[in-house]
Amino acid sequence: MKPLIRHLLIAASLSAAVLGAVTMPAHALVEIDVNKGTIEPLPIAVSDFVAGDSLGSEIAGIVAADLKRSGLFAPIDKGAFLETISNPDASPRFEDWKVINAQALVTGRVSKEADGRLKAEYRLWDTFAGQQLDGQQFFANKENKRRVAHIIADAIYERLTGEKGYFDTRIVFIDESGPKTKRVKRLAIMDQDGAGLKYLSKGNELVLTPRFSPTRQEITYMSYESGQPRVYLLQIETGQRELVGNFPGMTFAPRFSPDGQEVIMSLLRDDGN
């Protein structure tokens, strides 16, 4: 850079800094208190991720559904969009999004890597500020496409609310079916949005009170299959199962310790304690 230009730039930035420090509060003649706002879900537009196939709209759909289900966001219907995003990296036409009332916009892309993995990237834009707030990219196997969408939804949720997201989580529960006289209870697991439902027990025994390990992919639960209520530890990924302890009498109400290293339970001994 030529010395003359550089000196002028330094002078300009120095003066701007000085003005900034001194001007603002001294000149304000009107000071207003705003003590209320509206608690409404934040209107957000999630545009279909650019992709060679339907995966782009599928991922965007999962993200929008997660955000909507949290109650804190109101995704705008795709039919209302004015601009079609063809390049998620370029600045969008912010006016087109402001006019449909979107306060935030998500653009993204899904592509296949040479090794067959998926690459998913997103950008989060503040339409009124006219700038990007966040952006990340993830690599995953194709089977994990829903998890990637949940992870993106978590990142957007956290950036706009300041709270940690919970969309990349699963729920373990007892699934009940059958007539009242012959209830079938099965241990089951599903994603928090209801997808990926899997049964973990066969339904021919009474199962109760499942609990997730806070640190590992393990579940502890009660089962009456041996005739007596017993506590088991189940590895979710492998399906391997073990009996927790071999105590005389009955064992109930298993829980994990906070560090996930121990299972705590109640014992009912034969002497009644």
């Binding site: 330094i10 603002m24 209320k36 509206t38 300041g162």
Partner: protein
């Protein structure tokens, strides 16, 4: 050549520093009357999407912005006192941008051309 440039630069910088420190004319005696400021507060409140965070009632931020004679934003609103919570600060800036331009008496622009808003959500309404 460079000696001349340095002299030019320091005179320029000094002129700028002096103008920033000198008061720019007498302060008008009366700011906007209460009716206008109360209305402005309500207008901004309606544009403000409170971020739904747990301790939002205990957060406050101060935003400063300048308006042109048409009531439109001149430059970007600035956070002058942060709440310490980024989404909260951003929601306040967004509220100002969303609400602009403001409907204010043109003939009294000198009185409302620079505004500071305290975002302090004590009364959260649905």
């Amino acid at each position: 050549m460079s000696a001349q440039v340095i002299q030019l630069q320091s005179r320029f910088a000094m002129a700028v520093v002096l103008s920033a420190l000198l008061p720019l004319g007498p302060k008008p005696a009366l700011a906007l009357e209460a009716g206008h400021t109360a209305r402005l507060g309500d207008v901004i409140a309606r544009c403000w999407n409170l971020p739904l965070i747990e301790n939002v009632g205990s957060l406050t931020a101060k935003v400063s912005f300048q308006l042109d004679p048409n009531g439109a934003l001149a430059g970007n609103p600035q956070i002058i006192v942060s709440s310490g919570n980024r989404p909260f600060d951003e929601s306040a800036l967004r509220a100002i941008k969303k609400c602009a331009p403001f409907d204010l008496p043109r003939d009294r622009w000198e009185e409302w051309k620079s505004i500071v808003v305290n975002f302090d959500p004590q009364n959260i309404h649905q």
